[in-house]
């Protein structure tokens, strides 16, 4: 099941008798991950192989390039989605709302009628899915605003 791309045996051979160090990589199975199988071409004559190989260090490594790919793509998607949603909230949302029946209520929210607001919001929601989502979104926005005030404006927390 392992991808051919995703295993390697990496041998690092340090400088030896006027030769510089070398790095060798091959994809062989874990069992064969040793100097004799990986170091090709062998840079030393036959009788020196044992000594040269003693100095080399071979490590078998595995990775999953699919995991990496999927992770990075998901990450970029989430960042993108958040940015788009942020722009939407910043730019488009106020425009849409302007001709909305919620306008009144949103202005109410600006004043801090904390206890009453959720229930008044709840009154209108509950009929269609969209409106309930809307209501939840409003509550969430209020909450973030509250957090923003606590952290950024009043510096009550997390400073």
């Amino acid at each position: 099941s392992k991808n051919f791309e995703d295993v390697r045996c990496k041998c690092i051979c340090p400088p030896y008798r006027n030769m510089t160090g070398h790095i060798f990589k091959r994809n062989v199975s874990q069992k064969d991950c040793n100097c004799l199988h990986v170091v090709e071409p062998m840079p030393v004559p036959g009788h020196d192989v044992e000594a040269y190989c003693l100095l080399c260090e071979c490590k078998y490594e595995e990775r999953s390039s699919n995991t990496i790919k999927v992770t990075i793509i998901i990450y970029l998607c989430v960042v993108g989605a958040l940015l788009v949603y942020m722009l939407f909230l910043l730019l488009l949302d106020p425009l849409i709302r302007k001709r909305d029946r919620y306008t009144q209520r949103l202005q109410d929210q600006e004043e801090e009628a904390e206890v009453a607001t959720p229930s008044t919001l709840m009154d209108v929601s509950g009929s269609t899915m969209l409106e309930r989502v809307e209501g939840a979104q409003q509550r969430w926005k209020k909450q973030v605003q509250e957090q923003r005030k606590t952290v950024f404006d009043r510096h009550k927390m997390l400073s």
Binding site: E5, R8, I12, C13, P14, P15, T20, G21, H22, I23, K25, N27, L54, L55, E61, E62, R63, S64, S65, T67, I68, K69, T71, I72, I73, I74, Y75, V78, V79, A81, L82, L83, M86, L89, L90, V115, A116, P118, S119, M122, S125, G126, R132, E134, A136, Q137, R139, W140, Q143, V144, Q147, R148, T150, V151, F152, H155, K156, M157, L158, S159
Partner: protein, 815 residues
Amino acid sequence: MDNAGYNTGSFDGLHQVSDDDEMVDIAGATLDFSTTDDDPPLNSGGYEEYSSSRGMNGAGTPAAMVHPLDDPVPGLGTYEDFNTIDWVREKSKDRDRHREITSKSKESTVALLHRISDAFSGWLLMLLVGLMSGALAGGIDISAHWLTDLKEGVCLNGFWFNHEHCCWKSNETTFQERDKCPDWKSWAELIVGTTEGGSAYVVNYLMFIFWALLFSFLAVILVKAFAPYACGSGIPEIKTILSGFIIRGYLGKWTLIVKTITLVLAVSSGLSLGKEGPLVHVACCCANILCHLFTKYRKNEAKRREVLSAAAAVGVSVAFGAPIGGVLFSLEEVSYYFPLKTLWRSFFAALVAAFTLRYINPFGNSRLVLFYVEFHAPWHLLELGPFILLGIFGGLWGALFIKANIAWCRRRKTTRLGHYPIVEVLVVAGVTALISFPNSYTRMSGAELISELFNDCSVLDSSQLCSYKEVSNTTSGTSVGNGMADRPADSGLYTALWQLSLALLFKVIITVVTFGMKVPSGLFIPSMAVGAIAGRLLGVAMEQLAYFNHHWIIFRHWCSPGADCITPGLYAMVGAAACLGGVTRMTVSLVVIMFELTGGLEYIVPLMAAAMTSKWVADAFGREGIYEAHIRLNGYPFLEAKEEFEHKSLAVDVMRPRRADPALAVLTQEGMTVAEAESLVESTRYSGFPVVVSQESQRLVGFVLRRDLLISLDNARQRQEGVVSSSQVLFTEHAPAQAAEAPPPVRLRSILDLSPFTVTDHTAMNITVDIFRKLGLRQCLVTHNGRLLGIITKKDILKHMAQMANRDPDSILFN
């Protein structure tokens, strides 16, 4: 339906179903889960609908099974935001629940199954927390690595590969430049087409700064837009939450998403911060969210805190690949209430998380952390001298850092600086990028730097730090080990040392202003980096000293020429431990974490010596670690379990009312009307009222919470027929004889806590503080010879402690 007291207007069935949806719906527009028991349902008017929907729902979804212990009035037994929970009440609620399930389980098989699933739900939850945290940590590691390398260039055979993975198979890598391969293009190569020369350098420099600014801007803007609570390290707040404080939304799903995302951005932007502290916050968010799958934990604040304690262990476990160290960190540093059961469970969860991370294998080398080292070079007893020196350095750095950082944060809190969080982040990120690019040791990420510094110079190494002069006969013999004899330093090493010194200076300064900015920021990595640099410098110095002076009496016995007697990497490790210890004041958990990082028991003594020295030196300048200092700065109601209360005060000195104050507001168990009770509640801001036999005798009957009282009175007025303002409020078991035409009384014995904690007025405050700490009380009544005298709340104690320490008692902000 389990979220009693949630949305007060509509308890219809439809909404109940959607309630469960919302928990898994992360598509943006939903309510943060943790508001589910947020809004005070003072104006609940839908009780009938509520109970009917409850009946409907009880047979429905499995998550919504019948809970016989549900309070009849929604909202009873919940807490408001920024309040402290009552541990005793929560724990006995859970015990009642458990007893109920146990006794029911004898009746039917379903109930028995329910009992078994209830018993194992804790373990299942731990498994899930471990899996989720491990997966997230793996994702963070992979993304941060990629994004960090993105500042430098891009991989052509797959943009999602970081530098190392881009050259995974390439055979063009050489011994000197191990990650050079044609697939990886630096920005200069892409833009101006050359890798060498001044123009390439300038392009790379500019791109580096550009990305740093972009990443940090994105991080701060996302935090500000979606989850302000996601900033900072989170550990001070989690400590406070674990001690019983409630911060709604702090561990919510928006916080989780935004913290995960912005943590990667912040780390990649090159700012001097780490991901270890925020990972604890991330793990706690996971735990809190997963708690909502299990009734046992969703409805009980105390039980949930047990899970959060375990989650803190999980966070450190994945941050350092150290499950045991994580558990000890949670025990030593974070947790408040840590029963043995939690010990086992957090160990289990930490293991699961570590193995999930191991399975994901983010670094491709089967290690959980970048700076894992494995060396077995011996150390000599005389080396304890330099190790203790490093400990002193670490302690000084810790004390200095705490003082400077707190001063800076106070400045941010109080002056106009705090009004420009975005500008602040951009400026710091720009300056960091500008200064750090020219120096290769600041350009690399903190974890890589530490990894490089911890590394022992073997023959296989080609880094600048290992450029020693070759001495003849070094490779003779057939010793296969990696250890190499001490050799004189080369000019490359001297350059490296200069660069390291500058990096040290830069890190020390920039970390002070970075920690506390409005991006997720951990402190472990920068602290360790500072210590590792200092340690490596000292280590190389010692090595050269020993090499050139091996005839000195102190070196003669163990440092003969040709021997490998001093390991600079070990010094770096000890230095890192010392600095981390100085800042956080961890001891055992620190040593165990380092021990798990190196896997060798032989270095426990040097690490211990350094950690202890560092703690003692730092304690001489101020008793509190960085987290406690931040807790105090923010005025959270946190009763430190480590420091003893040393003063001679008695309970009577701390309790309210003071001598000059008006008498304590009390209710009597009978004889009060609803109107009187309501006006008493309205006219005061206390969160609870003692109930006495009569105003004259002041003999204590019980204690009733303001919130419960308000809800019950409200409820009675709306539901109970004939209740008017002149109705009697009764807390007694049996109603006294009343005139026939009198309105029916409101019976409130069910909300009365009949076993309030009391101490006598002569009780020493140290005993009282101990009781508060160990039992997790919110308030305690004070009596004298059986008469009620006053009340002590947690806030009173904290204020008193502040006063005793000559601090401003009004700095305690919350209840």
